[in-house]
C-alpha cells in the first residue's frame, strides 16, 4: 500500500522526512525520534489492545538501544572536535523546528487515547524534556531556542516538507516500475 500512496496520503510527522546526508543531523533526528517513540511505547505496553501492547513491549527493548546509541553519538560529536561540535549545533537548528509537532495530538490520537488503546503524545513531553536535558547536559550544549516550523496545512494531515516528494518518489520508484516485484 505504501508503495502506491500519494505524498498527501502519508500522515507522518515532518521530522522523519529531513535529509539523511549529514551524520550529525541523522543522529540528532534519531535521538529526538527515539526519545519520543520510547516514551510512547513504554505507555502503550498497557494498552487495552493486546496486539498493540505486545508490539510495544517488543519495541521498547529495541528503541531503548537506538536512543542510547543516538545519545552517546550526540555527546561524542558535541565534545569532539571544533568541526563536529559545529556540525551538531547546525543539526540542532535544522532538527529542532520539527520537535513541537511530535507532541501535538491529532484528533484521532486523542480519541484512541481516550478509549485506553492509544497514547496522547502531548502527555510525554515532560519525559522527553527530561531525557533531552540529560543528554544536553552531558554534551555541554544549551537548549536550542528555535521556533517551530510553520504548517502549510493541519498537523499530520498530509502536509509535508519539500524533501518529501523526492523521498517518496525514490522509495516508490522500483515498485511503480516493477509492480509486485516481477520483471
Amino acid at each position: 500500500m505504501a508503495f502506491f500512496r500519494d505524498e498527501t496520503q502519508f500522515r507522518n510527522v515532518r521530522l522523519v522526512e529531513l535529509d539523511n546526508g549529514d551524520f550529525a543531523c541523522s543522529v540528532t533526528r534519531l535521538l529526538v525520534f527515539s526519545t519520543h517513540r520510547l516514551a510512547i511505547l513504554q505507555r502503550l505496553r498497557t494498552s487495552r489492545d493486546n496486539v498493540l501492547a505486545a508490539v510495544a513491549a517488543k519495541g521498547v527493548k529495541e528503541i531503548t538501544y537506538h536512543r542510547d546509541y543516538a545519545a552517546r553519538w550526540l555527546v561524542t560529536l558535541a565534545c569532539g572536535t571544533e568541526q563536529s561540535r559545529r556540525r551538531v549545533e547546525e543539526a540542532l537548528i535544522t532538527v529542532w523546528p520539527y520537535v513541537a509537532e511530535l507532541f501535538t495530538a491529532h484528533p484521532v490520537e486523542r480519541r484512541i487515547a481516550g478509549s485506553g488503546v492509544g497514547v496522547d503524545p502531548s502527555t510525554v513531553r515532560d519525559e522527553f524534556d527530561s531525557v533531552i536535558t540529560q543528554v544536553f547536559h552531558a554534551a555541554e550544549l544549551p537548549q536550542p531556542a528555535v521556533a517551530p516550523a510553520p504548517h502549510g496545512g493541519g498537523h499530520r494531515d498530509g502536509d509535508h516538507t519539500d524533501a518529501m516528494a523526492a523521498f517518496v518518489g525514490e522509495m516508490q520508484s522500483l515498485a511503480r516500475e516493477h509492480t509486485m516485484g516481477v520483471w
Binding site: 517488543k58 521498547v60 527493548k61 542510547d68 555527546v75 519525559e127 543528554v135
Partner: protein
C-alpha cells in the same frame, strides 16, 4: 526455556516437532530455530493441521519471512502438507533464550554470544550515556583483550569487534 509443548504424545506431532526443530536461521545457519529460542510450539489443532508458533526476534527482521517459508517447506517435504505458522509476540523474544548449545555453536563459528539482556521495568526507562562495555572474549583465540569497532555489524542485531591479541575481527550478537 523453549515452550515446545509435550502434553499429548502423538507420533506424527513428535515427527513434525523434530522436523521444525531442525530448521535453521537463514542469517546464522549454524543455529536451529530451537537454538535461537524462536520455535515456541508445534501442535496439531482439532482440524488436524500442524500449528507451529514462532516468536519474531527483532521487529522487522527480514529473516522472519524466510523462517516461515523454510518451516513450511521442511514440513511439506516430510509429508505435512496442512501447516499453519503463527507469529507469537508475547512474551517478546530475548537473546537470553538462545540455548547453551546455540551459544557454543556461535562461538565455534567465530561469533561471540550475547551477554544477559537488560531488564526493563515499568515506568520511564533510564538513559545509558556511559558505555558499559562488557568483557568480550575473542571467539577465535579466547583472549579477553578485545575492542568494539562498530555498534552495528554484518546484520543490525550484531556488533563488530576486534581481538587485540590475535588481530582477528569478529561479530557479536547483541543482547536484547
Amino acid at each position: 526455556m523453549n515452550a515446545v509443548t509435550t502434553a499429548v504424545i502423538d507420533p506424527s506431532v513428535e515427527r513434525a516437532r523434530e522436523v521444525a526443530a531442525s530448521v535453521t536461521d537463514p542469517e546464522m545457519p549454524m543455529l536451529t530455530l530451537v537454538d535461537l529460542g524462536v520455535l515456541r510450539s508445534v501442535d496439531r489443532d482439532t482440524d488436524g493441521r500442524v500449528v507451529v508458533a514462532i516468536t519474531p526476534t527483532y521487529s522487522g527482521c527480514p529473516a522472519m519471512a524466510t523462517m516461515r517459508a523454510d518451516l513450511e517447506c521442511a514440513l511439506a517435504t516430510a509429508g505435512f502438507t496442512d501447516v499453519v505458522v503463527h507469529a507469537v509476540l508475547t512474551p517478546p523474544w530475548s537473546t537470553d533464550w538462545i540455548t547453551d548449545a546455540g551459544r557454543r555453536k556461535l562461538a565455534e563459528h567465530g561469533i561471540a554470544a550475547p551477554g544477559t539482556a537488560r531488564v526493563l521495568k515499568d515506568g520511564p526507562i533510564a538513559l545509558t550515556l556511559t558505555v558499559h562495555a562488557p568483557v568480550v572474549h575473542c571467539p577465535l583465540c579466547g583472549a579477553a583483550d578485545t575492542e568494539r569497532t562498530s555498534e552495528f555489524g554484518a546484520t543490525a542485531c550484531k556488533s563488530l569487534h576486534r581481538c587485540r591479541s590475535c588481530g582477528e575481527p569478529f561479530d557479536r550478537v547483541k543482547e536484547i
